[in-house]
């Protein structure tokens, strides 16, 4: 069973992501699964509905590569890179094709994953009274609160065919540990039919079991774990490598020029066999310079019942 869960990223994507799927790639600035998105581009999977709260550079790349038919999100820019020009070209001038968009607020997207994860029919939200957003998104509807008789907006569950996230580490069974900004990953994973987790490292079972509270995603929710070192570049992994802020700044002129953007994708994604070759193309010195200095947590003591171990060993 263990060997079934831990697979290569190309294998996981080939097996679990199909043309026409609804896919969610989550990670809020931190732990963005860039390597997995690149692999979807390499495999040329098309007709995808792409769900991501803050689409970021990853959506610019995936949309420009041609595999995305529909975008479900709550923000259309990158925090520090500013505009996502491929997204803007698609929406403002249908260049090279229109891009249907389903838009929400951050809280609404969070609640959609929550309702999806809990298999609820909808989730209520108080953000849209008087807003024009329900007018442009027919899926933001209203129900009557059975307790007060007043109306409240609701959003539907979001159940992706596949959710993909990146994390610091997992064990061989697929218990995934995350620290730092954990965003909406737990909800997005439980909402999905199939789940791929890329990790910086596979650790021994004992490492996970020494700190079970840090396991955000238990193994029962995970279909594939793939070791992809530096798999979140140019975003970051808390405690490992920092965000490549220069890359985000350099993205603006690339994104502004459709020809240059497509050339970048051809060179760095389609022209590389896998993520290791992508990192070669980016430059190993550049990647090495992102390494963080250590700042370890204090450890906590989970304790053990004093006689439990003696009892077990005496059996």
């Amino acid at each position: 069973m263990d060997s079934d869960t831990v697979v290569s990223l190309p294998h996981a994507v080939e097996k679990l992501v199909n043309a026409g799927d609804t896919i969610a790639l989550e990670g809020f600035s931190h732990l963005i699964p860039f390597a997995a998105g690149h692999e979807i581009i390499r495999q040329g999977i098309t007709g995808l509905t792409f769900c991501r709260m803050t689409p970021d550079l990853l959506s610019d790349m995936m949309i420009a590569a041609g595999g995305i038919d529909r975008l479900v999100c709550s923000f259309f820019a990158s925090g520090s890179a500013g505009s996502l020009y491929e997204v803007r070209r698609r929406i403002e001038s249908q260049d090279p094709a229109p891009l249907p968009v389903e838009e929400y607020s951050h809280h609404a997207m969070t609640l959609r994953y929550h309702a999806g994860a809990a298999r609820l029919p909808f989730a209520p939200i108080s953000s849209f009274v008087g807003s024009d957003m329900p007018g442009i998104n027919p899926d933001i509807r209203a129900v009557v609160d059975p307790y007060t008789g007043k109306k409240i907006h609701v959003v539907p569950p979001l159940n992706p065919d596949v959710t993909i996230i990146h994390a610091q580490r997992a064990d061989r069974k697929g218990n995934v540990q995350i620290w730092g900004i954990a965003g909406v990953q737990q909800e997005a994973v439980y909402a999905a039919d199939k789940v791929i987790v890329t990790v910086e490292e596979i650790v021994d079972d004992e490492v996970v079991r020494a700190d079970p509270n840090r396991t955000l995603i238990p193994a029962h929710a995970v279909d594939a774990v793939c070791v992809v070192l530096t798999g979140a570049h140019p975003s970051y992994v808390q405690g490992s490598y920092d965000r490549d802020n220069a890359f985000y700044r350099e993205w603006t002129p690339i994104s502004q020029d459709p020809a240059r953007l497509r050339e970048w994708i051809d060179t760095h994604i389609r022209g590389t066999k896998d993520h290791e070759e992508y990192l070669d193309a980016i430059g190993r010195d550049r990647i090495a310079a992102l390494r963080m200095a250590p700042r370890p947590s204090g450890s906590v003591d989970y304790g053990r019942r004093p006689d439990a171990s003696t009892e077990r060993s005496s059996r």
Partner: protein, 258 residues
């Protein structure tokens, strides 16, 4: 307190915002000028102020200037990191945020905001970033501060191209709905002056003009018949100490002070 010998428009705006945070406990802010304002308030008027980021970080103690709301430096050494369901559900919608900071491309006289499109949503002239957390912050923060980078009839029009984040005045047009808890926009700081709303269902009034600006200039640059407050005053200029803190301790790399 001696007035600073020289100060920029950005420094004036940040210092004005900081002074208004003297009595706030929890502030929800994006990166940029709001972060500077909260940091300055923390060092001058309000040592107990707590900054909450929409990334889930509460009580950040960054060792260097953060380049984003989810920068690794806001996590290392922070007092708490919660997931986004807890942040938007319990922290924000649960009523634990006193002041939310928002930016906008357009604001109307009641403090509704447009961050979605210029033109029609179906065929936009400019596609803007959308809500992000803005609609959620507007509905649920105790009050909202807005910092605008320009003050002209396009940014302060009589009618918004799109209402992303609705003021309680617009929400009240739908009395069959459970009403949002927040006051909406209380304060707007622009390059020309400060506009404030006194009543939850009232409209913005010009309460301050920046040094060298007249109320007539502000009125002309506003897309509606802007009410000028009876006790109109001039925005307090930054003190030498405030400018020193901003330049020499808070934003030493000039990431946001320009």
């Amino acid at each position: 307190m001696t007035t600073a010998a020289d100060f920029t428009e950005t420094e004036l705006v940040v210092c004005a915002a900081a002074k208004m945070l003297a009595h706030s406990n929890t502030v929800f802010a994006g990166i940029g000028l709001p972060t500077l304002a909260v940091d300055l308030a923390h060092r001058t008027l309000n040592p107990d102020i707590q900054l909450v980021y929409e990334s889930g970080v509460a009580g950040a103690h960054p060792e260097s200037m953060a380049e984003g709301i989810a920068d690794s430096v806001v996590v290392s050494g922070a007092e708490a990191v919660v997931n986004m369901h807890a942040l938007f559900g319990y922290v924000l919608q649960g009523g634990n945020v006193d002041v939310g900071f928002l930016g906008a491309a357009q604001i109307d006289r009641f403090g509704s905001l447009n961050t979605t499109v210029i033109g029609d949503w179906d065929s936009p002239k400019v596609r803007l970033p959308g809500s992000g957390g803005a609609a959620d912050i507007m509905a649920n923060a105790g009050e909202v501060f807005v910092i605008l980078r320009r003050h002209d009839p396009a940014a302060l029009p009589s009618e918004l191209d799109f209402v992303t984040s609705a003021s309680p005045v617009r929400a009240a047009e739908h009395p069959d709905f459970i009403q949002p808890r927040g006051f909406g926009v209380s304060t707007v700081i622009t390059p020309l002056g400060i506009l404030r709303r006194k009543d939850r269902l009232g409209e913005l009034e010009l309460t301050h003009v920046h040094p060298g600006v007249t109320s007539e200039q502000v009125w002309e640059q506003t897309g509606w018949d802007l009410v000028v407050s009876d006790d109109l005053s001039v925005t307090q200029e930054p003190t030498a100490e405030e400018v020193r803190l901003l330049r020499d301790e808070i934003d030493t790399v000039r990431l946001y002070l320009r």
